[in-house]
């Protein structure tokens, strides 16, 4: 099981995705979370972080029904084959350079065809939600608690309850 996951017998068994789907998911994660380093070069996140996210995403999808699994299988296949039609590069998504993948995804998101934009966003939303709920990516958001599930910091002068009492 991936780092960060708490074992629970209420979770489904850890899925084993075929190598091709793992490679595609990893290529998407790399581009989504790519950033500029101190010298301005485009860099992918660490390999371990990509592996963690793909593993957690596979478990997430496995927690839904066959409808969900079938949908994401299709999404990853479409993302793989669409670059020629979106950015004019005759290569599958996994063969694009990191910069080309970033440009490809931005073109998808900005497409006037809502279905193309939706295709990308359907994959972007869960992967980013996983990425930004821990580690360095959570720090990037400026969230000032020690973890995403940690209670609010006490507010000076507000007494025992930070917001000055309950909503009821």
């Amino acid at each position: 099981m991936s780092v960060g996951l708490r074992p629970d017998d209420r979770d489904p068994p850890a899925p084993r995705w075929p190598e091709g789907r793992v490679r595609r998911a990893r290529a998407v994660v790399e581009a989504l979370l790519a950033d500029r380093d101190a010298r301005g070069a485009l860099v992918a996140p660490p390999a371990a972080e990509c592996d963690r996210l793909v593993g957690e995403f596979a478990l997430w999808v496995a927690s839904g029904s066959n409808n969900v699994l079938t949908g994401f299988r299709l999404f990853f296949v479409l993302l793989e084959i669409l670059p020629p039609f979106v950015v004019g590069r005759l290569a599958p998504m996994t063969r694009l350079s990191l910069a080309e993948r970033v440009a490809y995804f931005e073109a998808l998101e900005g497409s006037r065809l809502g279905l193309l934009a939706s295709l990308f966003v359907a994959v972007k939303l869960p992967l980013c939600a996983l990425a930004y709920e821990g580690g360095d990516s959570l720090s990037l958001t400026g969230f000032d608690r020690t973890g995403i599930a940690v209670r609010r910091l006490p507010v000076a002068g507000a007494g025992a309850t930070p917001a000055g009492g309950g909503g009821a």
């Binding site: 708490r6 629970d8 017998d9 979770d11 068994p13 581009a31 989504l32 979370l33 950033d35 500029r36 485009l42 997430w60 999808v61 927690s63 839904g64 029904s65 066959n66 409808n67 079938t70 949908g71 970033v102 995804f105 931005e106 998101e109 900005g110 006037r112 809502g114 279905l115 934009a117 939706s118 966003v121 359907a122 939303l125 992967l127 980013c128 939600a129 996983l130 990425a131 930004y132 709920e133 821990g134 959570l138 990037l140 958001t141 400026g142 969230f143 995403i148 599930a149 209670r151 609010r152 910091l153 507010v155 309850t161 930070p162 917001a163 000055g164 009492g165 309950g166 909503g167 009821a168």
Partner: protein, 512 residues
């Protein structure tokens, strides 16, 4: 099954079971928990069968948002309504756990607006659904849930900006009422309260039912209602999960009264699998399509500190739009910002300066749920009325106008691929620009109406007392019975409706 006084993890049972009860309730959410509790209080033997897992409040408190989604939301939180025609793809959030969606709401409690009650009573001929007829049920629900106004001190800075901008435009904002006790403003209600302050039904109702001897079993998927000589006599199904994750043992519960409370998306599937036939079954689904707009301010807003929802405005109710102060977990918010790679991360770094404003549309409906060939989950489709699409686009403009009035330097329209707008003119131009509706980022939290009440079986699936036309002994008590869209959050209306139905059942007091 197990000792009384505790909720049973179905997946941990050594085998199936076969037992009797006065009432079997399918589903433990806002409808099922209410019916079960009120009937247990009336002395009836009640069994509640919940398809989803049971997590204790202290477990939920520690879940990351994505853990909460994959463990406790239907379709692991990845459910969407397929848009038909000029319709956005709409993400739909529904709970699948002991406590149902009540565990995942923002805690907002509205009564059904008087105009909607009036429509039900006058136009639909359902006099039993008048505002007056609901009064006692509302009071009972509000007492048990500890419903009260959110104090102004609990508002986040994001919400304060929302109120400030609205005030400058002459749009009045009112405090929202919520079912919380000791809310400390953790700003992540939809993914479980870290404090356990939200009075969801697993905390406010079910413990009372269990204490009175009701059996609540999680991981128990009811597959069909048992029918003998034209009347419902119980249910059967199978236990889910277990250490091996395989198909579980079968169970059967015999009872003269069966209450389906599986929610708008699953109640019609259960009824259909049990032989109920109606042209209205699974149709007329309303969603309250909603949008949220992010606004960038010069100063830090840190909207995660404060009550998730604390104000609303019905200023545009005549246009079918309700404005609501909202927020969400920062990772979910980050995921919705535009771009990929460095461009996306640039916006993520601005998150402390982002306020979030929301709106939802009182829709005509146009949703349908059908069985899927791929498994037990249905397929939800939705055809948005042209009027509602216009309302949605209007709502985006209104939210942006409020944001700019509050001092925002940029707003992020919830339209995929559209860059942030820096001026009112840019924003307003979007409302009428040619646009594929599937580019609109749209979410929905309140699916309703798939087994709607009507005073005639030719117009609906259920009667005003919750009974299913054509199958004696079978009742429905969840959001599926609401005859129309209500335009406000549905938790309290569903609970009040379930209260009415339970009181009716109690007064008839069926016995095994």
């Amino acid at each position: 099954m197990s000792a009384a006084g505790e909720i049973v993890h179905g997946r941990a049972l050594p085998g199936g079971f076969d037992e009797g009860a006065d009432v079997v309730v399918v589903g433990s959410g806002a409808g099922g928990a209410v019916v079960a509790t009120l009937l247990a209080e009336a002395g009836l033997r009640v069994v509640v069968l919940e398809e989803g897992p049971y997590y204790r409040p202290e477990e939920i408190a520690g879940f990351r948002p994505t853990e909460a989604m994959r463990r406790m939301w239907r379709e692991a939180g990845l459910l969407a309504a397929f848009g038909v025609g000029q319709t956005p793809l709409i993400g739909v959030t529904v709970g699948r756990n002991v406590g149902g969606s009540s565990v995942h709401t923002g805690g907002v409690c509205f009564r059904v607006p008087p105009a909607v009650h009036d429509e039900w009573a006058r136009l639909h001929g359902l006099r039993e659904l008048s505002e007056r007829a609901f009064e006692d049920a509302y009071l009972d629900v509000e007492r048990r849930l500890h419903v009260g106004e959110v104090p102004a001190a609990d508002r986040s800075l994001s919400t304060k900006k929302f109120v400030e901008g609205a005030s400058k435009l002459g749009i009045p904002m009112r405090p929202i009422r919520r079912n919380t006790q000791g809310c400390e403003g953790n700003g992540r209600c939809n993914f479980g309260c870290p404090k356990g302050a939200k009075m969801s039904v697993d905390l406010s109702y079910l413990p009372g039912a269990v204490g009175l001897g009701a059996r609540v079993v999680s991981d128990a998927l009811v597959e069909r209602v048992l029918v003998e000589r034209g009347r419902a006599v119980g249910v059967e199904g199978r236990l889910l999960g277990g250490p091996a994750g395989g198909r579980g043992a079968r169970f059967r519960v015999r009872a003269p009264t069966v209450v389906a409370a599986c929610g708008t998306l699953h109640t019609p599937l259960l009824l259909h699998a049990s032989g109920v036939r109606s042209p209205h079954l699974g149709r007329h689904i309303t969603l309250h399509p909603a949008v949220r707009l992010c606004a960038l301010f010069d100063d830090e807003v840190r909207g995660w500190d404060g009550a998730l929802q604390s104000v609303y405005s019905d200023h545009y109710a005549g246009d079918g739009i309700t404005l609501v102060g909202v927020y969400t977990a920062v990772n979910v918010l980050a995921s919705a910002l535009p771009g990929a790679g460095p461009a996306h991360r640039q916006w993520v770094r601005q998150l402390p300066r982002l306020g979030v404003f929301g709106a939802m549309v009182h829709d005509e409906g146009g949703g349908a749920v059908r069985p899927s060939a791929l498994g037990r989950e249905g397929v939800l489709s939705y055809e948005m009325a042209a009027r509602d699409l216009s309302r949605l686009r209007r709502a985006i403009t209104v939210l942006g106008e409020i944001a700019f009035a509050a001092g925002a330097s940029k707003v992020f329209p919830p339209i995929f691929g559209v860059p942030p707008a820096s001026t009112l003119a840019e924003l307003r131009a979007l409302e009428t620009a040619p646009l594929d509706p599937r580019r609109i980022e749209c979410i929905a939290f309140h699916p309703l109406g798939s087994a709607r009440m009507a005073n005639d079986p030719r117009r609906g699936v259920t009667a005003a007392d919750g009974s299913v036309y054509g199958l004696e002994g079978l009742y429905v008590a969840d959001g599926s019975v609401l005859p129309t869209s209500i335009g406000v959050n549905s938790q309290e209306p569903i609970m009040a409706m379930a209260t009415r139905i339970a009181w009716g059942l109690r007064d008839r007091r069926p016995r095994a």
